[in-house]
Amino acid sequence: MSVERPKPSASHRPAALGSRRTIDLLWSLVAPFVGLLVVCGIFVVYQYAVTPQNQFLSAYRMTLIAKQTAIVGVGALGMTVVIISAGIDLSAGSLMALASVTLAVSLKSGVDPRLAVLIVLAAATLAGAFNGLLITGLGLVPFIVTLGTMLVFRGLAERVSDQKKIQAPAPDWLATLLDPPAAGSWQMVCTGVWIVVVLGIVLAALLRYSVFGRYVFAIGSNEATARLCGINVPWVKIGVYAIGGWFMGIAGIFDFNNLNKQGSPTSGVGLELEIIAAVVIGGGSLNGGRGSVLGSILGALTMTTLRSGCVYAGISDPVQKIVIGSIIIGAVAVDQFLHRDQSASP
């Protein structure tokens, strides 16, 4: 955590600030990709050195990576908003399980699939808003509230499903979101990945161009100031967590697809940590005020690529965990170092 000391200077040179800005702008466009490129680079080098006949970046593996990124990626979208507002949502994994069993139970009891989707998204949004309500209403820190609701939502998921995996009938449009598209189709990757891309673009626009988005950044950057400027902080925060919940609803639908039309109450244990890691690798700051949609998506993609690469290189599961854990710490350390360098020059 770096404390920002005001850097006074006797002479103010807007021109110098300007040239600095161009460099920063370029860097901010390139930086998110660096981690991903480094990871790909390592495995491509490995490929040439060890297994030249087995290509790492094959079309097959890339579509697989894209598919595996869908769940963490969509979760990371919601978490990006939460983290920019200087919050955190530890209940995300449980919320996904709650959403997926709700979908399975609804479908099994004969609810119209379109209505079932609406029910799931409404429930997930409400659950998220509930987090926000507890945080603002009781004045508790998000970490504690969502640590509690992590158990509450998990318990609810287990109740709803009677602690069993629920197999449910589902129409094709709802059950093949993560299936590979027909060979030669324009789609290239599964529908779920396209959904993430579209939602990402919409969310990025919302964060950048809407009043709500600006309030989210303002609250994360300096909550006291936001309040003083007349921003309705509690409502914005409730909105932030509701959005986080909505995205976990989508993740729940993806999970239902991933498990072949099953809703599982034990799904997504520890998923919230992967999602948070993706956002943080993508440049999000747990102190708030910083984070981007593109960064978070690439963060999620980096982690999946890494895991896929470890499997490709035949690295055992325990070693994989050690490697991925170290990379998370390393990536954030590098990001923080670069960021400090930026803020240190006047």
Binding site: E4, K7, P8, A10, G18, R21, S210, S221, A226, G289
Partner: protein, 499 residues
């Protein structure tokens, strides 16, 4: 006056439990006037300003803006009515751009989306009124120097069509140069018909910028009137309510043997190649603009900032400038300029803060003898005249002046011979300042060496034995305090030669 009053309050009272914070206060600010609000800490200034800003609601009394009744229930109401505050600690979102900060809370929208063109236009117009047309609108505010950050906050007030502007200690972290610029801005705003309330501990500043004044003491107005023709001594007397014989009490002391010798000390950016000697029983002041490297000099000597070249020798053998732990063992202590951020642990007790650097005397087999520590801390509190309920009171509840006394007492408790004091009286009222000056004098007469940084020149001129002036990281000149004039110090600090 009331015909042109843009803001007036009459009979305003506010009580917190048993304390009558404000009692029947009346205040009138005319359009195109700078009104100085004067009073010691605890006189009720900040309560009054919070009532004005809608943070507190008055128990009784009336307020009006331009003749319209004004009854804010919330800070947002105050903003809407045209009252804006510029606080000592800036209210900005450091990650957001200049434009976003100016328009914060007053966004123009269409269907929930920002009207960026309109925003840029309004932000630009506000900055032009502050003669900053070139400030890049897209730059994150956290990357601007502090003086420009402050202008961004003023621009926000202008963009909201504020009619009454309240400045609360706006110059406490500004250089002389930036202060002068701010005063130009304030004069411009006055000319355009705003009512301005100006709060500051720097009486010289008030005299320079204000038209009229109101003095508060113990929650009541004790005097109000035109400022011209009133002597500053007179105002000080009204503030403290007693004859303050000496603003700067002198305790006789004389320099003894050499305690530290700084040779060619350079940090990563500043300071650069500084040579300095401080003797026991001597008070050396360091003057200079903000950013000249004064704070960094102290931090380098203490070992808190990285030293690139040079060394600091302390009498009795040994080097400083390595790390704080080693410096404390060599009888050196630092009081930080940033009490809240790093100087003190405000959520801990007086006892914890005072003994944090030296717990050994109370330690047995790794456990603390808390009773003995409490006894010892009570004794220290008595010696420094600290006004508090007891050693276990939480620092948060003390006034800035009493907090600062504890910060200095910590150095004495840890047995420091060399005291590095960074802005030791910042944000402290006149009465307590005098007490701190006396304490510093007493320490010098007890043989301590004191190196103090201050932006308040009269303090350096009257408290120190000699004054070193820094400019752009270099120590440009050191002379006995008697041989300096304020003008000379400023000339050297801004890089000119003395006449």
């Amino acid at each position: 006056m009331s015909a042109t009053a843009i803001f007036s309050m009459s009979g305003v009272s506010k009580r917190f439990g048993a304390t009558q914070a404000l009692c029947d206060v009346s205040l009138e600010v005319a359009a195109g006037e700078v009104h100085a609000l004067i009073g010691e800490n605890g006189a009720g200034k900040s309560t009054l300003m919070k009532v004005l800003a809608g943070v507190y609601q008055a128990d009784g009394g009336k307020m009006s803006i331009a003749g319209q009744p004004y009854l804010p229930a919330h800070p947002a109401d105050a903003l809407r009515a045209g009252v804006a505050m510029i606080h000592q600690e800036l209210n900005l979102a450091p990650h957001l751009s200049v434009e976003a900060n100016i328009m914060l809370g007053q966004e123009r929208q269409r269907a929930g989306f920002l009207r960026r063109g309109r925003h840029r236009q309004m932000a630009r117009a506000a900055l032009e009124r502050l003669s900053q047309p070139d400030l890049p609108l897209d730059l994150p505010v956290g990357r601007l120097p502090i003086a420009l950050q402050q202008l961004v906050e003023i621009a926000r007030a202008l963009a909201s069509d504020a009619r009454v502007l309240v400045f609360d200690e706006p110059t406490s972290s500004l250089t002389e140069q930036d202060t002068a610029h701010l005063f130009d801005v304030i004069r411009d705003l006055r000319r355009s018909g705003l009512g301005i309330v100006y709060i500051s501990h720097f009486l010289e500043e008030l005299a320079e910028i204000s038209d009229r004044y109101t003095v508060l003491r113990d929650g009541e107005v004790v005097a109000t009137g035109e400022l011209s023709g009133v002597a500053l001594d007179e105002i000080v007397r009204m503030m403290v309510g007693r004859d303050l014989k000496e603003m700067f009490p002198r305790v006789p002391h004389s320099p003894g043997e050499r305690l530290i010798q700084v040779r060619g000390l350079s940090g990563t950016d500043v300071p650069r190649d500084v040579d300095l000697v401080v003797h026991r029983g001597e008070i050396v002041g360091v003057a200079g603009l903000v950013g000249a490297g004064r704070t960094e000099l102290l931090r380098c000597i203490f070992g808190l900032d990285r030293v690139v070249a040079g060394d600091v020798r302390i009498a009795g053998g040994g080097q400083l400038a390595r790390n704080p732990h080693a410096s404390i063992r060599r009888h050196t202590g630092l009081v930080s300029e940033d009490r809240k951020g790093e100087g003190l642990a405000l959520s801990l007790s007086i006892a914890d803060n005072l003994t944090l650097t030296r717990l050994q005397p109370y330690r047995r087999l790794g456990m603390l003898n808390l009773r003995r520590r409490t006894r010892e801390v009570s004794e220290w509190m008595r010696r420094i005249h600290c006004k508090a309920a007891g050693p276990h009171q939480v620092m948060d509840q003390l006034s800035g002046g009493n907090q600062q006394k504890i910060a200095i007492a910590r150095l004495l408790h840890q047995g420091a011979d060399l005291l590095l004091l960074d802005e030791p009286t910042r944000g402290i009222d006149v009465g307590t300042k005098a007490e701190i000056y006396r304490l510093i004098g007493e320490l010098a007469s007890a043989g301590k060496a004191i190196l103090m940084v201050s932006s308040y020149l009269p303090e350096l001129m009257n408290v120190c034995d000699s004054i070193a002036v820094m400019c752009r990281g270099r120590l440009v000149e050191i002379r006995p305090a008697r041989q300096w004039t304020e003008e000379d110090v400023m000339r050297r600090a801004t890089g000119q030669e003395t006449a």
